[in-house]
């Protein structure tokens, strides 16, 4: 993980507290702090997502606590992208006294943890676990990211509406819930929209070589390659497509965000790639600029969408908590009830880095506008 500027170690785990310079126990002038737990992969193959969310959350935490009205305390635990470890992390956080959960970062652990949070009545806002199953049937679990459902549908609509292509090839990760989830929704929506899917191939986390998938797409005359996958394999797909001199339009999803910030990446490979992403690091609005600056300063990296999700979760919680009149001395259940009410109320809307005017349905899904982006000269440009 990155290096937090303000870290105090409480018995229960890592605790990033409110006022960096003066206090180590998290209770500053505003009285006791609200205990927010975070869960995500900080080690292992998916560590990049967990660390991004954690780092983004930390930046938000500092800002929020500096504002001075509500005080937050964040304890972020590693789940190694594993359901069992995630439940362990969750229980550790419960022992610590967690009142609200910012997590989990990835879908599989979320599927393990959210039923617990539902049973324990701990309000949960996940930054990036995007499967509909995460929120399904759980009144106190909310998503900040698009659900896979929305992404798949939105992508198909976007492609059809903007006539980006007619013959579509898809390469997705059949060992990954996120990728498969988007793929399935995309297919059904694409059919409805009259798009023709000419080639569907898969890979797994262990795959390095995409020759077969690309050749098949090429041979079937696809004019658009839909990649509902994360940016690491995407970077391999793009470089191998280039090596094969296969030129095609590429359309990605939010997991592809980050490809431009991949250290040492040859961005010309991604030239012309289109994707739906809620967050763009080189956006020029003040909040994004300030966030990106702080992030670079603290973690020496350009933030990706996950970092922004983490940041937004903290702020969304902050605003909702303020609105609901949540205080640190309330029980988790009290907070839970109040926050549900706010999140599902008609007059609550949240502006964040990953979208403005976000609102939540009763089922826990967020509604926000996906932004269609295209990469031009190594930078995102709105479509």
């Amino acid at each position: 993980g990155g290096t937090a500027t303000t870290t105090t170690t409480a018995a229960g785990g890592e605790t990033t507290t409110a006022a960096p310079d003066e206090s180590t126990d998290g209770s500053t002038d505003g009285g006791a702090a609200i205990k927010i737990g975070g869960i995500g992969p900080l080690t292992g193959a998916a560590a990049v997502y967990g660390n991004a969310v954690y780092n983004g959350s930390k930046i938000a935490l500092e800002e929020i606590n500096a504002l001075g009205d509500l005080q937050f305390e964040l304890n972020f635990q590693d789940d190694e992208h594993d359901g069992e470890k995630a439940v362990n992390a969750y229980n550790t956080l419960k022992d610590w006294g967690m009142q609200i959960l910012n997590g989990t970062v990835t879908t599989t652990p979320a599927n393990s943890v959210t039923p617990e949070a539902f049973a324990d009545r701990i309000f949960t806002l996940t930054p990036s676990a995007s499967s509909p199953t995460v929120v399904e049937g759980k009144d106190n679990v909310f998503q900040l990211c698009f659900s896979d459902l929305n992404q798949g549908i939105a992508a198909a609509q976007y492609i059809a509406d903007n006539k980006l292509g007619e013959k579509i090839a898809i390469i997705y990760n059949n060992a990954d819930a996120y990728s498969t989830g988007i793929y399935e929704k995309f297919v059904s929506e694409a059919e409805a929209k009259g798009l023709e899917i000419v080639s569907t191939t898969t890979f797994t986390d262990e795959t390095n070589d995409f020759t077969v998938q690309l050749t098949e797409a090429q041979n079937n005359g696809a004019d658009l390659l839909f990649l509902p996958i994360y940016y690491q394999p995407a970077s391999l797909v793009l470089s191998q497509a280039q090596a094969m001199s296969y030129e095609t339009k590429v359309f990605g999803v939010d997991g592809m965000d980050g490809i431009l910030t991949l250290e040492n990446f040859d961005t010309t490979l991604a030239e012309g790639v289109m994707l739906l992403t809620p967050f763009v690091a080189d956006a020029t609005d003040e909040r994004t600029v300030s966030f990106v600056e702080k992030y670079k300063e603290q973690f020496d990296e350009v933030p990706n969408q996950f970092a922004a999700d983490g940041y937004d979760v903290m702020y969304a919680l902050y605003e909702a908590a303020k609105k609901a009149g949540v205080t640190a001395d309330m029980s988790a259940e009290e907070i839970n009830d109040k926050l549900i009410e706010v999140f599902t109320s008609d007059d609550f809307s949240f502006d964040g880095l990953t979208g403005s005017g976000m609102t939540w349905s009763d089922t826990g899904e967020v509604s926000k506008e996906p932004k269609g982006m295209v990469i031009e000269n190594g930078a995102y440009v709105g479509m």
Binding site: T204, T207, N219, N264
Partner: protein
């Protein structure tokens, strides 16, 4: 046409497995241990050469040399600290220690280089080979990998079968006490073995990253397992077997994906492996160890 293109990418993938498998088999053959940390030394090799080229702007040749030097040293240090104290222990104990070392290297890399992946730039930038009016291309890294594989295979075979130190290695692998009674320094011999194996891992790291240019702290794990599979496939302990096993594994993986199913590609590779082993229980080129009764 497609078939040939698939074959080429199979060989390309397989030659990377082969290089890794050579290192695996070498250490296994002599130290009689499955060094599950081998894949992670490869990862370190990839990162070191990345730092040398991308961050320090050193030329490719120098970067490879640095990677080899670092990994060789690392291999020797790991051997001294983690494996040597277990010389008399059952081989499974060493296997578990190797897994500990693997965790250690992955997590150390995570702390040093962060979880953010890095994009690697191939060190072999010469023009790819174009055949049949550009219908077929053979990537430069593939050419380098295949040639390196053949050179490494030949050299290792010569070392092990013909040189004094190579024979000493084999003696040590069979019976450490008896080897000592011959005047062979067991520790020195095993250290040399690890040094060679780790140096090879560095080269494998550069080649792997050049072929599939993304670096993550866990990048060595799966190629490591595949290479171990390849080594067994070819007949573990057999140097030419590792080469053959690696290449075949790559080819099977790609062809299986192309002509059977992309969804089941891993299952296909491993099923073929099982079938081959049932027909040839000691791998393709493995010696049938005849036990005199």
């Amino acid at each position: 046409m497609d078939f040939i293109a698939y074959l080429i990418s199979g060989i390309s993938l397989g030659s990377v497995y082969a290089i890794i498998a050579l290192g695996y088999t070498m250490v296994y053959g002599i130290a009689k241990m499955l060094n599950f940390a081998h894949g992670d030394v490869i990862m370190i090799g990839g990162y070191v050469s990345f730092v040398a080229t991308a961050n320090l702007d050193l030329p490719p040749a120098v970067s490879i040399m640095i990677a080899v030097a670092v990994c060789t040293t690392l291999g020797i240090v790991i051997e001294k600290l983690a494996y040597k104290p277990l010389r008399a222990a059952p081989s499974l104990a060493v296997l578990i220690t190797a897994i500990g070392v693997s965790y250690f290297l992955q997590n150390a890399a995570l702390l040093i280089w962060s979880s953010n992946p890095k994009s690697y730039t191939s060190l072999f930038k010469f023009e790819p080979l174009k055949l049949l009016d550009g219908e077929l291309t053979i990537a430069s890294v593939t050419i380098v990998t295949v040639i390196t594989g053949v050179i490494v295979m030949t050299t290792l075979s010569l070392i092990i079968n013909k040189t004094k130190i190579g024979k000493a290695m084999r003696a040590v692998s069979e019976d450490k006490d008896a080897a000592q009674l011959m005047g062979i320094g067991v520790n020195k011999t095993i250290t040399i073995t690890f040094a060679i194996g780790s140096g090879l891992a560095a080269i494998a790291g550069v080649l792997l990253a050049s072929a599939y240019p993304i670096l993550t702290p866990t990048m060595g794990a799966m190629p490591g397992i595949k290479a171990f599979t390849a080594a067994v496939f070819g007949g573990i302990g057999s140097i030419p077997g590792a080469m053959l096993g690696g290449i075949l594994l790559g080819v099977i993986e790609i062809l299986g994906r192309a002509y059977i199913s992309t969804q089941l590609s891993d299952a296909i590779v491993f099923s073929v492996l099982i079938i081959v082993l049932l027909v040839k229980p000691t791998g393709l080129l493995g010696k049938k160890i005849s036990e005199k009764v």
